[in-house]
Symmetry: C2
Subunit: 242 residues, 2 copies
C-alpha cells in the first residue's frame, strides 16, 4: 500500500534547494554537533537554512543550540519556529509526548508524519541530523526524501570507520550522492582515515581536531560559533559547494 | 502469538549465574570496549565467562578483541567458540550473511534466533554488549532474557548523560536491576555526572579516565589488558560484586 503522505512530502520539500543529510556509521562521533554548527555557519553566511533533527535515537540539537521550550506553530500543517535565524524542527517535539519508547513501526510513522506535516519556507539548505547507522529510519529517509546529499562523519577510531565504510558502500550501491567524509575528534597525526576514504572513492572533506573545550560551548550559540570546532567547520563549508 | 523460541531461550540461559548487560544511552561512549574488557578481566580472575555481542547497530567486539574468522560450531544449536578463554558469540556471524541492512522485524528475529540457538556452557558471567539506547532490540532483550542486570556507560558529556538519564528511568520503571553507571572518557575534574547519577538513585560505579593510547591496543588482547583503560575496569569489577 502506498502511503498518501509520501507524495505530500515531495510537495513539502519543493522549495528547498539542497538537502544535506549529516550522518554517521555509529553514534558518538559528533554528528549532531556538526549538523548544528553547519546550520549556524550557513546561516551566518547569509543563506536561508533549516535544521531538522531526525535522530530519534538521541535527539540533541536542541541541547547543543540551547533551544528551550519553543513549540512549532500549527497552521495547515506545522510551521517550524525561526530560532537563531534558521527554521528549526526536531523529532523531540513529537517523541516528548510519548512516555514509552517508540517501537520500529512507530518510529517510521513518526518520521513520515513529521516530514509530511512540516511546512518549510524557501530554503537554500535543509540540514538533516540523521539517526546513526543504517537502520530502518535511514532507509525510510532515503526512500522518502528526494535529492538528498550525504555528509558522513567519522572519528579517527577504526571502530567508527568500519561502520562508515559499510554506510558509504550502501549509499554508493544505491547511487546516492555523497558530499564526502569529515574526520572529527582528531588527536594524533595520521592519514589512515584519509587514505581509507580515498579508497572508497568519495571525497575526504577535512579534519576537525578534537576540541576539549567544546563541552562548555554546548547550549550557547555564540560560544559555539567562536569555538575551534566551528572554525574547522567553516573550512568544511567551503568544500561542500556553498 | 507466542513465539515458541522464547521458552527455549530460558532453557538456553539456565546454566548462567549472572547476565550483565553493558548498555548506554547513545553510541560512541565506549560501551563495546568496556564489555570486551570486562569479559577479559573476569576471565583473568578465573571466572567462566561468555561474551555475547548483540549490538547489531555496530558490532565491534570482534575488532576490539582481534577475533578473525572463527565460526561457531553447529551441534544441536550453535556452540560458541572459546576465544581467549571465554565463550564468544556475536550477531556479526549472523548479519554478515545479509548484504542488505536488516529492517526492524528482521533484527528482532535475528536476536531471538541467536538467543534460542546458542548453547552456552556453565558460566559465572554472561556479558552482553547491547545495542545503544532504548530501541526495539533493547526492549526485546529485556522481555526475552530473564534475570538481566544492567551496567550503564556514559561519558562526561551532557549529550551522552541526557540519554542515560532516560535509559535509567526506563529500567527503574520496569523494575530491572541496575548495577550502576560508569563514567568513561573523563578528561577534566568535575563531579557533575556523579551527582546526577546519585539523583537517579542508582550506584555510581567509577570513573574511567580518557586513555589516548587505547586505539593502538584495539585488536590485541594483551595490550588491552595492560592498558590504563583496563586498570580502571579492574577497579569497576570489584564494584559489581564479583
Amino acid at each position: 500500500m502506498i502511503d498518501p503522505r509520501t507524495s505530500i512530502i515531495d510537495e513539502r520539500l519543493r522549495n528547498i534547494k539542497r538537502t544535506i543529510a549529516v550522518t554517521s556509521g555509529k553514534g558518538g562521533v559528533g554528528k549532531s554537533l556538526l549538523a548544528s554548527t553547519l546550520a549556524l555557519i550557513l546561516t551566518e553566511k547569509g543563506y536561508r537554512v533549516g535544521l531538522f533533527d531526525l535522530d530519534f535515537t538521541s535527539p540533541s540539537t536542541h541541547m547543543i543550540l540551547g533551544i528551550k521550550e519553543v513549540q512549532p506553530k500549527e497552521e495547515k500543517g506545522i510551521v517550524p519556529p525561526v530560532i537563531d535565524g534558521m527554521e528549526y524542527m526536531s523529532i523531540v517535539y513529537y517523541t516528548r509526548e510519548h512516555a514509552a519508547p517508540l517501537r520500529g513501526a512507530d518510529v517510521s510513522n513518526a518520521l513520515i508524519e513529521l516530514l509530511s506535516v512540516t511546512r518549510w519556507g524557501e530554503l537554500d539548505f535543509l540540514v538533516l541530523d540523521m539517526p546513526p547507522g543504517i537502520g530502518d529510519a535511514t532507509l525510510d529517509l532515503i526512500r522518502l526524501v528526494k535529492r538528498i546529499e550525504f555528509l558522513v562523519v567519522t572519528t579517527p577510531s577504526r571502530l567508527a570507520f568500519e561502520t562508515v565504510r559499510k554506510l558509504v558502500r550502501l549509499l554508493k550501491d544505491l547511487q546516492l550522492p555523497v558530499i564526502g567524509v569529515a574526520e572529527n575528534m582528531k588527536t594524533k597525526e595520521a592519514d589512515t582515515i584519509q587514505r581509507e576514504v580515498n579508497n572508497l572513492e568519495v571525497p575526504f572533506l577535512n579534519i576537525i581536531p578534537f576540541d576539549r573545550n567544546i563541552e562548555s560551548a554546548l547550549g550557547h550559540k555564540d560560544r559555539l560559533l567562536r569555538s575551534a570546532f566551528a572554525e574547522s567547520v567553516r573550512g568544511l563549508v567551503s568544500n561542500i559547494g556553498s
